[in-house]
């Protein structure tokens, strides 16, 4: 019984991490049909920002305030990743709209460069980030211990989800973003500044990658390739979830996270991955365009 609950919780936890990563991807992909392969490196940037802030706190700030570093690093990681995202959009991606495969390759190139940059600055070995003290230990339920850090990540991803939901469905800017997603030309005709919408949305998507990176520091040491490890699963979330609505990403993330953990529990880590992949392929036989897809009569979507 306790094993079942633990597996369930682990699945939930993995799902929340995937969701945090995939949220940004789903936004940028849904809006611009651009697969940003450098998304994983934006995560890495967020993680290293946390590491740097932590190091600064260790050195210059009295110990009693040390825990504050984490709360501070979440918004800073968001801002820095968003800034890098803006830079990327302005300098590269905006020239590659309507060439999705090319933008995929170009962003991959950027990702490789960022990885190597991190390796040059911080060194190839992984660096550890000391978790804030209030996230050490765990919640004890009977014989089970659910780590606070994982509960924190779960709540963080739900918080981000709510924030994105409010932004998309309750603000004027969000309405414009959805309008551009559904029909770019028509939105443009009605006076929506699509360029501005693209830029802001891309920045937000990148910023959430930064937050995801910040969260990943709680789970273990971080390295230059930390993004690559999660990014493919996050892409699968987008493929499974579809790009029509946030619901797709949520179900996709928790679905993949849950099945991954369950399969790994019953078989081994490697066989589990294979099974999840097969499951995704099988699922796509039923819903080729993902769980939730915006209906459109256009031929090439």
């Amino acid at each position: 019984m306790s094993g079942t609950i633990l597996t369930f919780f682990n699945g939930l936890s993995l799902g929340s991490i995937l969701l945090l990563i995939a949220l940004g991807l789903a936004i940028t992909f849904g809006l611009m049909k651009v697969i940003n392969m450098a998304h994983g490196e934006l995560i890495m940037i967020g993680a290293y920002v946390t590491y740097v802030i932590q190091s600064i706190f260790l050195k210059y700030v009295p110990e009693s305030f040390f825990d504050l570093y984490f709360l501070l690093s979440i918004p800073i990681a968001f801002l820095i990743a968003a800034g890098v995202g803006i830079l990327l959009e302005v300098s590269l991606i905006q020239f590659l709209y309507k060439r999705p495969l090319d933008s995929l390759l170009a962003t991959y190139g950027v990702g490789l460069m960022l990885q190597q940059l991190a390796r040059s600055i911080f060194g190839a070995p992984n660096v550890g980030v000391q978790s804030p003290s209030f996230l050490n230990g765990g919640l004890t339920i009977g014989t089970l211990v659910l780590p606070y850090s994982r509960i924190f990540i779960l709540s963080l991803s739900i918080l981000c989800l709510v924030a994105i939901f409010l932004y998309f469905y309750r603000t004027g800017n969000g309405r414009r973003v959805r309008a551009v997603m559904q029909n770019r030309q028509m939105a443009e005709c009605l006076g929506v500044q699509t360029r501005k919408v693209d830029l802001v949305t891309f920045a937000i998507g990148s910023g959430f990658a930064g937050i995801a990176g910040c969260a990943l520091t709680l789970l273990g040491p971080i390295g230059p390739t930390i993004g690559t490890y999660y990014i493919i699963d996050a892409f699968m979330v987008v493929v499974v979830g579809g790009v029509g609505a946030l619901v797709g990403a949520v179900i996709g993330a928790f679905g993949i996270g849950f099945f991954n953990t369950v399969f790994e529990y019953f078989t081994s880590a490697t066989i589990g991955k294979v099974l999840v992949f097969m499951l995704i392929i099988a699922f796509l036989q039923l819903r080729p365009s993902g769980l939730v897809s915006s209906r459109s009569r256009a031929l090439d979507e």
Binding site: L101, L112, Q116
Partner: protein, 362 residues
């Protein structure tokens, strides 16, 4: 006068034939070490033709060709490993506590069966994935992502099954093939020549395929899949066919690779190698057959020189090349070449340029 000069300068057939003859004569003037490197590049060039058929001509981008390459290489490696251990248990299996040869390895005792399997396992895997995705019209970036997920899955599988595949170390320390020592220069020269001939055969075959009806259909799929569908063709079948074909070619290239390099491990078929292969095609010029071959040889030559002296810079360089090629050279080096060729003949020809007319009226 100028026109004749440009014609003879750019006479493709003669130029390519000359290059091929030069490749065949390479053992005479290259050291064993350089020849081995060139052979490796040629193996990559074989793979890249297949990838170009898929991406350059059909418009389907696969980021997972490292897998097919790797499976071919592993098939050959398994045979070599068995021959090296005298059909007894290979050393790494004993280390991971196996007692008898696993069933999976049995067919690879026979070299011919190993060669056939090295080509057909990739084909079957590609057909499986291709049919299941293309039939449902999972296209473009979605397929690309799935093909990359395939890489992750297969690599984790190969790393995880230590006892069956040698884990992260892969397969190495081969000794002989058909009884000939792999380390002798003569054997290596013969393998090099075989590689060059296979490259020529694959090149000519692909050229025939592209110039035929099938090639026109493939280009049609790339440029207007829906139009083709309305004309009564089923793009899924064609795409699956070309995907499987290019996977088979990749398997073949993998086999020739392992014979010359003497090691195959999961890192050689992972995400980064798979995407590097795409760069070779992009740099050389997708949609041309000779471009990707040039791209493969050039990039690998650069990689060998660069990563010998500055291993750190290589990834920067690789990333930068991706960005540069995509933004500034979408048609690759061949596109650049054609542009100059066009300017050259424009300078010397007074009659109206047909290409320009077509551009404005089509």
């Amino acid at each position: 006068m100028g026109k004749m000069l440009s014609q003879s300068m750019f006479n493709r057939k003669i130029l390519i034939l000359l290059c091929f003859v030069l490749l065949l004569l390479a053992p005479l003037f290259l050291s064993d070490f350089r020849l081995n490197l060139l052979g490796k590049y040629l193996a990559f060039a074989i793979l890249v033709i297949g990838l170009d058929l898929l991406w350059g001509y059909t418009g389907v981008l696969s980021l997972g060709h490292g897998i097919f390459f790797g499976i071919g290489a592993y098939a050959m490696g398994m045979y070599l490993k068995l021959e090296a251990s005298g059909n007894k248990l290979p050393d790494f299996m004993a280390w991971s506590g196996m007692e008898s040869l696993p069933l999976l390895w049995m067919p690879f005792q026979n070299p011919f069966l190993a060669i056939i399997l090295g080509i057909f396992i990739p084909i079957i895997l590609a057909m499986f994935l291709g049919l299941l995705t293309f039939r449902n019209r999972i296209n473009g970036v979605y397929f690309t992502i799935l093909s990359q997920a395939l890489v992750v899955v297969v690599v984790t599988l190969f790393v995880g099954q230590q006892g069956l595949t040698g884990g992260t170390n892969g397969l190495t320390s081969f000794k002989t093939i058909f009884g000939f020592s792999l380390s002798s220069p003569t054997t290596q020269t013969v393998i090099y020549l075989i590689t060059a001939v296979v490259l020529a055969i694959i090149y000519l075959g692909s050229k025939k395929l592209i110039n035929g009806r099938l090639g026109q259909v493939l280009i049609g799929i790339r440029d207007g899949e829906n139009r083709l569908r309305f004309l009564g063709y089923d793009p899924a079948i064609f795409k699956t066919f070309i995907y499987a074909l290019s996977a088979g070619i990749a398997g073949l290239a993998g086999m020739l690779f392992v014979l010359q390099v003497g090691i195959i491990s999961p890192t050689m078929m992972g995400i980064i190698p798979s995407i590097e292969m795409v760069l070779w095609v992009a740099l050389g010029g997708r949609g041309t057959l000779i471009g990707p071959i040039l791209g493969a040889i050039l990039v690998n030559g650069a990689k060998t020189t660069f990563s010998e002296s500055y291993p750190d810079i290589w990834l920067y360089f690789l990333g930068l090349m991706f960005v540069m090629v995509v933004v500034f050279l979408p048609d690759g080096l061949m596109g650049l070449f054609k542009k100059f060729q066009g300017r050259w003949s424009n300078l010397h020809a007074k009659q109206p340029n047909r290409a320009r007319v077509e551009k404005y009226y089509s």
